[in-house]
């Protein structure tokens, strides 16, 4: 899912450029049009920063890595294959940037066990005082559960469930085969389900 974002203070004159197709913007950015690259940023910054945040679990780090993703993208626009979608290409860079960061950092603080207090509390069947608190708590549980997935499963889960990318796109981003992606996604869903199960029946009926 591609989300267009609107930055505070953005000039209305820029609205037109945001309406351009991704292909057109990409072609213009490749030929050195700085404004076109800015429009690409505005269009894809939110999904990219969300993806990176889901991968690394820290806001400051996610912002830093998003910067790095777009700087690398700008520098390598000339090397991008013409048939590649800009969104797929950006997610591929973001995945590499996030992975490099994860491998250089110890992230024990983002790992929680199944006996995490929040989960145990909900397992006891206690209802939260209000929906907002539940949402906040659930967000924390999802974030922690994501952090507990191994990298391959986290990538495919985030791209498929949160970013709603097709299997073909995820295969291009990750370099993995579609059967492997499906297996990883199935396992990731099972692990995530185990952690969010206490919330499935509480105020989230469809």
């Amino acid at each position: 899912m591609v989300e267009a974002i609107s930055l505070k203070g953005q000039a209305s004159a820029r609205a037109g450029i945001l309406m351009n197709s991704a292909e057109e913007l990409t072609a213009r950015a490749r030929s050195g049009d700085h404004e076109a690259f800015r429009s690409i940023f505005e269009r894809y910054a939110r999904p990219i920063i969300s993806f990176i945040y889901d991968m690394v679990g820290r806001r400051d780090l996610a912002e830093e890595l998003t910067q790095e993703t777009f700087v690398r993208a700008y520098k390598n626009l000339g090397a991008m294959r013409e048939e590649t979608k800009i969104s797929t290409w950006l997610f591929g860079i973001a995945k590499n940037v996030a992975r490099e960061s994860l491998r250089s950092r110890i992230r024990e603080d983002h790992r929680v066990g199944i006996d995490d207090d929040r989960v145990v509390e909900m397992s006891d069947g206690k209802l939260p005082p209000d929906r907002e608190l539940l949402d906040r708590e659930l967000n924390g549980v999802i974030q922690d559960a994501l952090g507990a997935l191994d990298e391959d499963k986290r990538v495919v889960f985030t791209l498929k469930v949160f970013q709603q990318r097709s299997y073909e796109e995820i295969a291009e981003i990750t370099g993995s085969s579609i059967p492997k992606l499906k297996t990883d996604l199935h396992r990731a869903r099972a692990e995530m389900r185990r952690r969010i199960r206490p919330y499935l029946g509480v105020g989230y009926e469809v």
Binding site: I5, L7, K8, G9, R30, S31, G32, R38, F41, E42, A45, R46, I49, S50, Y53, D54, R59, A62, E63, T66, Q67, F70, V71, Y74, K75, G78, D135, L138, N139, I142, Q143, K160, V161, F162, S166, Y167, K182, L185, H186, R189, M192, R193, I196, Y199, L200, G201, Y204, E205, V206
Partner: protein
């Protein structure tokens, strides 16, 4: 469809990642099987929870400002690097021969070598060509047949030896060594010049194709540097015309061509 099959494909059903026919089969099964239907509902609740996931992160104008600052810094570094490279090359062409004793010594040796060759050539022109070139004294040996490397001599207007130059013609042609038929130093210089000109034409075309992708500030500095090199080429050309065979002038001329090729090549592949 059986329950096992349905539950195995229910994730793909949620993801809409299989064929319409299979989807119809799953849909039909779900409407008739309470257990699988509960399973499906649980998946849908999961999806709803994931859809409501809020991250504690925003895209702020500061993020773009940081990216822009980094891109600007990189452009500045790139420009400075290119400018520094060109400046060093100029210093190499015009500064080093005057300042570096080793380079000056090498240049003197080259000059002595070239001068010796020219003197040998001049000396051979001063001797009796008849004694060197055959008993009849009427003809000289034709040059080796190397098309493209030895310039053609003007043809005689008439007579039996129409394809062979006369002694007078050889004496008038400074490009050819009458003793050996080998290219003269001056001729070698001209051939090298010709090759540089060809390389410059090819590289200039490549650079022109890249112009729109290059930062305008970088391009301006590059063009200015290229103009300086062109001016040097023109001046050294004029000097070598005024003093034909002057090894120093020829050396500077070829060095300037070489620097132009290097600069264009760097810009073409950068």
């Amino acid at each position: 469809m059986k329950c096992e099959e349905c539950q195995a494909t229910i994730e793909d059903y949620i993801d809409e990642a299989f064929a319409v026919r299979t989807a119809r089969d799953v849909s039909a099964h779900l409407s008739s099987c309470a257990a699988c239907s509960r399973c499906h509902e649980e998946f849908k609740r999961e999806q709803t929870i994931y859809a409501s996931y809020q991250r504690d992160i925003e895209v702020t104008p500061a993020l773009w400002a940081s990216i822009e600052a980094r891109l600007e810094r990189q452009r500045a570094i790139k420009t400075a690097t290119l400018f520094e490279t060109l400046r060093e090359r100029f210093a190499g062409v015009f500064g080093a021969p005057r300042l570096s004793p080793a380079f000056a010594a090498a240049l003197v040796l080259v000059a002595i070598g070239v001068t010796a060759l020219i003197m040998q050539y001049a000396s051979s022109r001063g001797n009796n060509p008849v004694a060197q070139n055959g008993p009849t004294g009427t003809q000289v040996e034709p040059p080796p047949n190397k098309p493209g490397t030895v310039p053609e001599l003007p043809k005689a207007s008439s007579g039996p030896a129409v394809d062979q130059p006369t002694i007078a013609q050889v004496r008038k042609d400074p490009r050819r060594s009458p003793a050996t038929g080998r290219p003269t130093p001056e001729q070698l210089v001209r051939e090298a010049e010709q090759k540089y000109v060809q390389a410059i034409a090819i590289l200039s075309r490549d650079v022109n194709q890249r112009r729109s992708k290059v930062d305008p500030a970088v391009l301006a500095r590059f063009d200015a540097a290229l103009s300086d090199i062109d001016r040097t080429i023109a001046e050294t050309k004029q000097a070598s015309r005024q003093n034909p065979g002057d090894p120093i002038a020829l050396n500077y001329l070829l060095a300037a061509y070489s620097k132009k090729v290097d600069a264009l090549r760097d810009m073409a592949r950068d």
